[in-house]
């Protein structure tokens, strides 16, 4: 490529796509390069909350305030993608005094509520709690209710990438950065080299500024420029249940005193999370039975019926937390840091972004893009807090859509959740071919039309990509009914040979088995037996 981009962003997670969007909106020629898929790293395994940082209020007030402010912005740029999660902080009988402490704490948190369209806290008696959720354990004195917002992390990344593309950015997925081009004599970074999938060789991408938004891989990327940027990788897992078992989120204390939760999230319930220093390979993550037991035991103390719930899979990710020696994982800052390597290491043209939370992505992206513009000698205002993300340009009524296109109201609601007003364009595809209204995945009612749309417009190239974008194969069936059908659609849309897509299906199923290995228990065993009969491991 002869073009010299203003900025090349490495990494397609929430920060990478957020930065690409901000840069593109400010008129910079932008390219984003992601080695696997958008949100394939930490952004695809988070708790999925745009939360105000309740627990950082005591020792990290700045984070809390900024989080709440930005939560408000994110709500206004993609309202369809957020859902309110009511939370109850439970107070055990033997610690009645905590009720007063908790209420006071949440009264302080109430100050930030208007920033994020939150509701003021409510004090609940034990009876109130039991009326809300009969399954709560006996030994509860009461609770305090507050609320946060939930979001689908991968959809957020895709929408940011779509916005970036709509403003001229080039988005390359399934493309690895193999090196950073450094002009040693002038101490400057000139671009990156990428591996070209078709030719098998390497290609140069020239850019005036390179942003390392590699998340857990950012030290690896920094090393390509001969730099040593340290993070403290924190592995976290979540358990995904087969359905929502509660419409309210609950906090509980695990055996080591850490706060863990169960939350309703889209059409499931999530139990999480863990936080452990991780020294292994970020490309080879798996949850352990220990981590699963830890969560079940901790949450089971207040939610005993969790023992009977069916876990369908686990999500695993690594937080690229800022490096600090000598602290427990929970005490580490959730702050972010922007490394200007020109200033810090004498190597201009390279920026690294580390740390932070999903909820602060827009802010981190703004700060990073401010620095990019400064390096380019430009002063352009940020618009990412006010410009709606694709799909939020106009409101859309999912019931009306369901009626006029003759699809099930639930399916329409889920389609609108994921795509906002672009759901209309997807449904129009069904007029082209009526069989595209059939559900490829019955658990998450994903239509064939939506699968084709995601392949055509959202860079989906594999089954795993489709799972991130639509939750196809992420529900109770774990791909049983839908994996091979989606593989056939991929082959059709992308002109791939059936063998290639069936190999992808094989890896997809293998990935699923690995994710489920530590949760093979209870009601999931029957599904596992059924899955094996349809897709025998041999």
């Amino acid at each position: 490529m002869d073009e010299i981009y203003d900025v090349a962003v490495i990494g397609g997670g929430v920060n990478g796509t957020g930065i690409a969007r901000d840069c593109a909106l400010r008129g910079l020629t932008t390219i984003l390069i992601e080695k696997k898929d958008l949100a394939a790293g930490a952004s695809g395994a988070s708790s999925g909350m745009i939360h105000g940082g309740l627990r950082y209020m005591i020792n990290d007030l700045g984070t809390t305030k900024r989080s709440c402010l930005d939560s408000g912005y994110i709500q206004s740029i993609c309202p369809h993608l957020l859902f309110r999660i009511p939370f109850v902080m439970l107070i055990p009988k033997r610690k009645k005094i905590y009720m007063e402490l908790a209420e006071t704490y949440l009264e302080a948190y109430d100050w930030f509520a208007p920033l994020k369209r939150g509701k003021p806290h409510i004090r609940l008696s034990a009876d109130d709690v039991r009326r809300i959720e009969p399954g709560i354990a006996e030994n509860i004195h009461g609770g305090v209710m507050f609320d946060e917002w939930g979001i689908d992390g991968p959809r957020l990344c895709v929408l940011n990438a779509l916005s970036a593309r709509d403003h001229g950015a080039a988005i390359l997925t399934h493309t690895a950065v193999t090196g950073i081009i450094v002009d040693r004599s002038r101490h400057e970074v000139r671009g990156v080299t990428i591996s070209n999938a078709e030719s098998g060789g390497e290609e140069e991408i020239r850019a005036r500024v390179v942003v390392n938004a590699g998340g857990p891989w950012l030290p690896h990327v920094a090393r390509m420029a001969g730099l040593n940027v340290k993070i403290r990788p924190g592995k976290g897992i979540h358990l995904v249940l087969d359905r929502r078992i509660s419409s309210v989120g609950f906090l509980s204390g695990a055996i080591d005193g850490r706060s863990i939760f169960i939350i309703p999230h889209e059409n499931t319930s999530l139990v999480g999370t863990t936080d452990d220093d991780y020294y292994g390979d970020p490309d080879a993550l798996s949850a352990t039975e220990d981590e699963v037991e830890y969560l079940l035991e901790g949450m089971g103390r207040v939610f005993p019926s969790l023992a009977q719930a069916r876990i369908v899979t686990t999500t695993i990710g690594i937080r690229p937390t800022l490096y600090q020696w000598g602290k427990y994982e929970d005490d580490l800052y959730r702050e972010h840091r922007i490394y200007d390597h020109g200033v810090e290491d004498g190597l201009s043209g390279l920026i690294t972004i580390a740390g932070g939370k999903l909820a602060s992505y827009r802010l981190m992206s703004e700060e990073t893009t401010d620095l990019v513009c400064k390096k380019l000698g430009l002063e352009r205002p940020c618009r990412t807090h006010s410009e709606p993300l694709p799909g939020s340009e106009e409101p859309v009524d999912s019931r009306a859509l369901a009626a006029s296109y003759g699809i099930h109201p639930y399916a329409a609601a889920r389609l609108v959740y994921r795509h906002g007003c672009r759901a209309v364009s997807i449904l129009r595809l069904c007029k082209e071919n009526t069989s595209w209204a059939s559900f490829v995945c019955p658990c998450e009612p994903v239509t064939e039309a939506e699968v084709r749309w995601c392949i055509r417009n959202e860079w989906a190239r594999t089954l795993d990509d489709l799972r991130r974008r639509t939750k196809l194969g992420a529900g109770p069936c774990q791909g049983m009914a839908c994996a091979w059908k989606a593989a056939a659609i991929l082959a059709d849309e992308l002109g791939l040979s059936p063998g290639e897509t069936m190999r992808d299906m094989g890896s997809f199923l293998e990935l699923g088995r690995a994710e489920r290995a530590p949760i093979l228990r209870g009601g999931q065993m029957a599904q596992e037996e059924l899955l094996r009969s349809i897709y025998p491991p041999r």
């Binding site: 009526t434 069989s435 559900f439 009914a481 091979w484 059936p498 037996e529 094996r532 025998p536």
Partner: protein, 423 residues
């Protein structure tokens, strides 16, 4: 609670339970069968597998050993907990005897299967994978991949049938077989329209129900015959929706009109062929006068090592069945014969110890050569209880490709032992 008595109570109505009930009935016993819901048999593909090649390389079925007798020995040799090993020397001939017996009954009752006890057949599934079996119903058996070298194949799809993509399956299969000894000469995929179902998504059950209508079936068969004419075809494949009750008849009719062997793809799950197999077993049971209770066996009573009764929960209340002997054929996790409590598998009805020393997929009750459950030391737990089918541990019906054969072998032994004990 009302009470009912019988010589033998069978828990479970799949292949194992039904076979055990029939065998015990033949021995002159008064048999009661209680069943809760559909399990692996109804959700299966309607085939009978006896023994696959457990040493085979995945993905190259043409390199697997097709010798069933040899495969049985291999399984018995390598998996000492497998029923094929537990019964001793002559597992294969006992499976064959049991199999010929049940297939004979099914044939007389109107459900026919074809295949061999000596050599494995291979069939394509709707997604283009290859499944091996000893016997398949007449709707699938005519087109055995291991005997189709150089074939000129037509794959018929139905417009709107989301469970099958003719274009994809034809490309995938021919590509896979291309470099193998089973390679085809040619393969094309076509789509036909099912009258009255041209618009919108079509589910398999609906398509099969439509095919039970002789006029609709006639249209479809005529259309296939027309499209196949003059193309020099040797085999035709159709999606597994040839009909619910008229599947075999329609297939025979299609083969006649087209002039070459026609077969259904093997389905995935849930499926019409699986339901046909289950329905055939159900019809057989009704014919022989076995009493059937639709309910859930929940608890039991015993006097020392002798089980005296099983309580059955019914929508209308409950019932106690007092029998002289009992056969537990409740299946594995799908049917709920085994349940997983935390990470440990348990058997919920009699509380029998469950072994999973060979991994979670071979979990089940440990039995002796008479199919009676025993503890870790091999001591029999109850003197009048026997097990049949996948409730027994030590084998993986799917992974070891032996679900059908093991079900039949253990069911016949359990029925014979239960009959002996209930003298």
């Amino acid at each position: 609670m009302t009470s009912v008595t019988s010589d033998i109570l069978i828990v479970g109505g799949g292949l194992s339970g039904a076979s055990a009930a029939l065998k015990a009935g033949e021995k002159g016993k008064d048999v009661l069968l209680v069943r809760r819901a559909y399990g692996a048999t109804a959700l299966g593909s309607g085939c009978l597998d006896v023994a696959g090649d457990i040493l085979g390389v995945p993905g190259k079925p043409w390199e697997d050993s097709p010798d069933i007798r040899k495969n049985v020995s291999e399984i018995a040799g390598r998996l000492p907990g497998h029923p094929y090993a537990v019964v001793g020397e002559d597992a294969w001939s006992r499976v064959k005897t049991a199999g010929e017996w049940i297939l004979g009954h099914l044939k007389v009752s109107g459900y026919e299967m074809a295949g061999s006890w000596e050599s494995i057949s291979n069939f394509p599934t709707v997604m283009g994978s290859i499944k091996s079996a000893a016997f398949a119903s007449l709707t699938s058996s005519p087109c055995d991949l291991s005997r189709m070298k150089g074939a000129r194949v037509l794959m018929v799809g139905i417009s709107g049938l989301s469970d099958f993509n003719a274009n994809f399956a034809s490309k995938y299969l021919s590509e896979r077989l291309a470099r193998s000894p089973w390679a085809w000469g040619s393969c094309t995929g076509i789509d036909i329209v099912l009258r009255g179902h041209a618009q919108g998504p079509l589910l398999s059950q609906a398509a099969a129900a439509a095919m039970d209508n002789p006029e609709t079936a006639g249209d479809v068969i005529g259309e296939v015959a027309r499209r196949a004419k003059g193309k020099g075809l040797t085999h035709v494949f159709f999606p597994p929706v040839m009909g619910i009750s008229r599947g075999a008849d329609n297939m025979v009719r299609m083969s006649g009109e087209v002039g070459v062997p026609c077969a259904e793809f093997l389905p995935l799950s849930p499926s019409v062929p699986g339901m046909r197999f289950q329905s055939a077993l159900d019809a057989l049971l009704l014919k022989t006068g076995v009493r059937i209770i639709q309910g859930s066996a929940e608890g039991f009573s015993h006097n020392g090592r002798k089980i005296t009764g099983v309580s059955i929960a019914l929508p209308t209340g409950g019932e106690i069945c007092e029998a002289k002997a009992y056969v537990l054929a409740g299946g594995r996790f799908i049917a709920g014969g085994l349940r997983s409590q935390g990470r440990a598998a348990m058997e919920p009805l009699f509380g029998l110890p469950v072994t999973s020393s060979d991994g979670p997929m071979r979990a089940g009750v440990h039995v002796d050569a008479s199919m009676s459950p025993c503890d870790r030391d091999g001591a029999q737990i109850f003197e009048n209880l026997f097990c049949a089918g996948s409730i027994i541990g030590g084998y993986d019906p799917v992974g070891d490709m032996c679900g059908g054969g093991t079900a039949l072998l253990t069911a016949v032994i359990a029925a014979e032992e239960a009959s002996r004990v209930s003298q």
